[in-house]
Subunit: 556 residues, 2 copies
């Protein structure tokens, strides 16, 4: 069955491998739900509705109760209950599931993983609604980011891991000349063997996109996976696990190769599971504190951690001032600043922003950026699609705290969504600060909060950005400059701190969106993340190569 799947997807999979090798644009999963038609979207919506006020079915072992409690940021309780399973039972089941999966070999595992990804796509609308009502993303954005682009990142991980496993042939014939004139031939067989069981700990703002690389990289390299969702964003991953289990079962494998681990009332199950010696791989996305705890305590496992970051944009000069403003404003508004690579600090020199016509003063730039944000928000439904909701109530405290740090250039206020009167929507806050306020602004305010930092010179802006990103980590550095010398300084900084540099983005490419197959997300080189989606270090540590050699008789 699964070899059939590999053959079925081979032409498609070859495209994935070519895209990853050449780092070119490729988008196999449509990002706009409009192509499905209104009827399919309504069907998907109903499929999502059917999960509400119900028990989510998963035939997992070791069920000790049920738990749930997700509340949509759009203003209603989901009231879905999930089976709570004993981590030891899931681990035991995963262990017995593992060896047939290992022995099936890379191709069969690729086939199953690709079938899972395609099957998830057919549940796309339902997945997008599940993401929307757990993360607070708009439906449009959820379909793009939490479905299509998440599938991209999953597929990318499968392609990278397969490439890595296939760097070594399955078998080789090794012939050494002998000093007596003859030769000796050895038959060598190389088998990729998984590290163990993987635990994937997901977050509440990006439950699928951030978790799919770890889930699929583990599965394709032979490691069973236990998926631990954030208590506020279980449904998208419960759907993922359910679909994956079904495909595994259909393909003749034990569905316990993937299971869902839901918090019980103590909410410490992630830590309990992480300390089990059988867990040899941990993929983590979330805050610094939990990430640090894992780093300090789970030494028996390999940890791939994506944590918080403080991304900077340095504005020096531009030949498209309006494009700059619009691109930056949209980056700040997108999903209300809840993406890992969202710019947090906009650094501008008191010498102003050199444009084609004039030098815009720092004050004027601040007013222009604030006005551009406000104009974006005037765009009605489109603006609501861009912003979505705040995923959690506590983000409001961050907004309140940030207001006190400096001069408010653009205040945050509640925004109404006519379709969802109770939705938790707050417009972006932009606060102007000076370099002396560093202690107050150089920490993460998650959500729709950003600071305009006025520095003496662009060089000072770059130095401040470097210091902040080195200590707090960063996933993206933006630079607007037409000055080659400044560009070089920023490029050097980007290499030194391991932060991708986005130069002069004035169109429809944004620094907080990264394209699978082409863009690496995270470098592993600074505190924001110790890994990258998806480089070879992300996949090669998930398996070992074990070899057998035996002599080939001279007569053969």
């Amino acid at each position: 069955m699964s070899s059939v799947l590999f053959d079925k997807y081979l032409p498609f999979f070859r495209q994935a491998i070519a895209a990853v090798e050449n780092r070119v644009y490729w988008s196999p999963f449509p990002e706009n739900p409009a192509h499905l038609g209104a009827e399919a979207i309504e069907e998907g919506r109903q499929a999502f509705e059917a999960y509400r006020d119900a028990s989510f079915y998963l035939d997992q072992p070791g069920v000790v109760g049920r738990n749930g409690g997700e509340v949509s940021p759009y203003g209603f309780a989901l009231n879905v209950s999930y089976p709570v399973c004993n981590p030891d039972a899931l681990i035991m089941a995963a262990r017995s599931a593992m060896w047939p999966w290992v022995k099936a070999g890379p191709e069969d595992r690729v086939g199953v993983c690709l079938e899972v990804l395609h099957r998830l796509q057919t549940h796309g609308v339902e997945m997008a609604f599940a993401a929307m009502h757990t993360t607070g993303q708009s439906f449009t954005f959820a379909y793009q980011y939490s479905l299509a682009q998440a599938l991209d990142r999953g597929l990318e991980a499968v392609a990278c891991a397969y490439k890595e496993m296939k760097q070594v042939p399955y078998r080789s014939s090794w012939t050494r000349p002998q000093s007596n004139g003859g030769s000796v031939t050895m038959d060598k067989v190389f088998t990729p063997v998984p590290r163990g069981i993987g635990l994937v700990i997901a977050c509440s703002t990006s439950p699928t996109w951030s978790a799919f690389p770890g889930i699929f990289a583990n599965l394709v390299t032979g490691n069973p996976v236990i998926v631990k969702p954030h208590p506020q964003a279980i449904l998208p991953l419960a759907l993922t696990v359910a679909v994956a289990r079904m495909v595994l079962k259909e393909s003749g494998f034990d569905p316990n190769l993937i299971s869902l681990l839901v918090d019980d009332e103590t909410e410490s199950v992630a830590r309990i599971a992480a300390l089990k010696p059988e867990i040899r791989l941990i993929d983590y996305t979330g805050g610094m504190a939990q990430g640090d705890w894992l780093e300090e305590n789970a030494h028996h496992a390999v940890l791939f951690a994506q944590r918080s970051s403080l991304n900077c944009v340095v504005v020096d000069s531009t030949d498209d001032y309006k494009g700059l403003l619009r691109n930056l404003a949209l980056s700040l508004c997108l999903y209300s600043g809840q993406l890992g690579a969202t710019p947090r600090l906009v650094l501008v020199s008191r010498e102003g922003v050199k444009t084609v016509e004039e030098t815009v003063s720092a004050e004027q730039f601040g007013r222009d950026l604030a006005a551009t944000i406000s104009r974006l928000l005037d765009e009605g439904e489109k603006a609501l699609d861009v912003m979505g909701c705040l995923h959690a109530e506590w983000l409001k405290e961050g907004i309140d705290a940030a207001r006190e740090v400096g001069e408010v250039l653009r205040d945050s206020s509640p925004v109404e969504n006519p379709n969802w009167p109770a939705a938790r929507i707050h417009s972006p806050l932009l606060v102007k600060v000076g370099v002396l306020d560093e202690q107050a602004f150089a920490k993460e305010y998650f959500g729709p909060v950003s600071f305009l930092v006025e520095t003496g010179t662009t060089t000072e802006a770059l130095a401040l950005a470097e210091r902040v990103m080195a200590s707090s980590g960063a996933l993206a550095l933006g630079l607007h400059s037409t000055n080659e010398h400044v560009q070089e300084l920023a490029a050097d900084l980007s290499l030194r701190q391991g932060v991708p540099l986005h130069l002069n983005l004035t169109g429809n490419v944004f620094m907080n969106q990264s394209a699978a197959y082409a863009d690496f997300y995270g470098t592993g080189a600074n505190p924001a993340a110790n890994c990258s989606f998806t480089d070879s270090a992300f996949v090669s540590r998930r398996f070992f190569l074990v070899q057998t050699q035996s002599p080939v008789p001279a007569s053969a």
Copy 2:
């Protein structure tokens, strides 16, 4: 200069990459010094002699004194003194050397590394004598293992790391269709950036072979290297560092990209250096205790550790009994059991060894193995070439302790080498034990000590081998069996514990010798080593990929 070097070595380097990709036999560095002629060997010997009773010259920064004190296992003091440098000074110098090296790019770095390897080859005889008189290897074996095969492992690391860096193109053009019918094109540039400074901590029995993978993998990925030799085996690495510094200087790079860190009187400089935050990579070969200490204390660095192991051979049945005995006896004698993958436990069932003619009883097998070892040792100069010397005095204690564990089948005794009357040579000890003695025999007796373990059945032998290797780690598992079912059991065990399986070795391939380009040494899957020479995990963690993107104007 260095691009010229890349071009110079390109045809050769392509062969290295092809060998690694196909895992076939390739031996670019001659393993037998005889091809050089007597004169060249005498010149090399004199070059080695010139280091004796002298100060080794290295123009490194931060010199605080001199130290040395190596004593040849062949019975005389080398009396070489090396500069002792402050680790902070070496780190500072490495940091300032790094960025031009990074910016030179992978090809230039490959060129320099290949020139270093070839230059070391021209110093081959002198290197072999240096290895001989520090490790106790025979000259023949030192030339093969500590020179030619060490160069192989260095070259293999360069090839693997280069392949890994080149999986991502230097530059890509990314074009996305826009919803309005146009398109947007981004220019993306990808740069491999090193992790930081690498510390390579070498051992006394394999100073070059075990250290070259880390040294060259670091250099080619852009990481400066500080080499910390074992106090008893400094000279081979001092020569290596001196040659590498010279090539770097000639190529226009800062020689402080590689430096030698010699112990002062406290002998704790390895730990002091390992804890420096600038050290981001540690390659370690040596005992369990120091390895465990590094694992527990040097969390800021990535640790690649090759530690001790307890390798097993299970003897069930054979169609070449004499070949089996001779192959196994030679494996036990080779460099007096001081290789990491030397078999320690030979497990045989009380049901005996099935051969073509008869079933040999376990008792008879023990007598036959002991006799074969003794016959090997009767071969005069050839036997001395195989055995070399014990690298340290304390190994004798292990021999004495092992004698007490069971019935001595073949006793160890001092062996005379007419050319080196004071050489520390002791013939192999073979002790017969039962499964109940596990506590006494299942620990590492480094050196010429092995145990014949009698079990009830072959299945019990496999189970015992698995238990021992799972807890103590192993680099090699041998099996002699003509029974397909037993072969399958052993293959499964090998996959489960991540131990390479050597099946029915009866000729001139030995389980404690591994061939670069084809064989992986260590899998990373068990306590013997957390890394492998050389898989992609060994090289891919030494660099990050940092990317820059900028829009390409529509008119371009």
